[in-house]
Subunit: 143 residues, 2 copies
């Protein structure tokens, strides 16, 4: 009993997260992409050569789940993985030209949806929330 659920930061966080998820789903549907798939592309766009495990950590899913995501995207020709590992067992992943093109479209769609969701807030408010919330994230994820 938190008194009132609306007064719980956790509950409000969940509300906004759910709304964001729905908005992203709708924005990505025309591109035939799921949210995890988009997350994978976006991560690879900013950090080319990331391994399956690294992608999984940053997308907040397990290695096994990300593995399936990678396979689907590879079958669609959006990314490539080497057959042999250059070092250790990690297989560095790269976006293809098609992958980059799809990412650009998806990124615009998602950013538009996100922008609309947070439109009630000023840029200053958004910046403040982002910075404040970032301090709550364990640094192990940020590196």
């Amino acid at each position: 009993m938190v008194g009132d659920l609306e007064l719980s930061l956790g509950y409000v966080l969940k509300q906004v997260h759910a709304a964001l998820r729905t908005a992203m789903d709708e924005a990505l549907r025309p591109l035939d992409l799921t949210v995890p798939q988009y997350a994978c592309l976006e991560l690879l766009g900013q950090h080319p050569g990331l391994s399956n495990s690294e992608l999984a950590r940053r997308a907040f899913v397990t290695r096994q789940s990300m593995n399936l995501v990678l396979r689907r995207l590879q079958e669609r020709g959006l990314l490539t993985r080497p057959d042999e590992s250059p070092h250790g067992r990690a297989l560095p992943t790269q976006l293809t030209q098609d992958g980059l093109t799809t990412l650009r479209k998806a990124s615009i769609a998602v950013r538009t949806a996100e922008k609309q969701l947070f439109s009630p807030l000023s840029q200053e408010q958004q910046r403040r929330i982002r910075e404040d919330l970032a301090t709550c994230v364990p640094s192990s994820v940020t590196d």
Copy 2:
């Protein structure tokens, strides 16, 4: 390409949400409760007599999913549903004494975990974030 993912409010939101989810899972495990089950109990604690569909909406899952949650909790004797509907088809749900007891323990555990997660933020910062984020939530959910 958002420039930098860390600068995307959506990504930070997802990070914090994932951290909260993990913290809640760990806090609830000793009580043998999942997050959706806890959400169900908490909602019933604050709004006794809520129907399956109402619970589903407020917990951000489908009616079908919430239906399974209710059954499990009913089998465990934490809540009761009437065999016949007093009005329409909606079956108003009530917590049992055991349900209330469990809810109290769970609520404390969750609140403690939540408190720790947001400990880097002052009360004033938490209040501000909560109010700001609340303005982004479609009012249809809040009613």
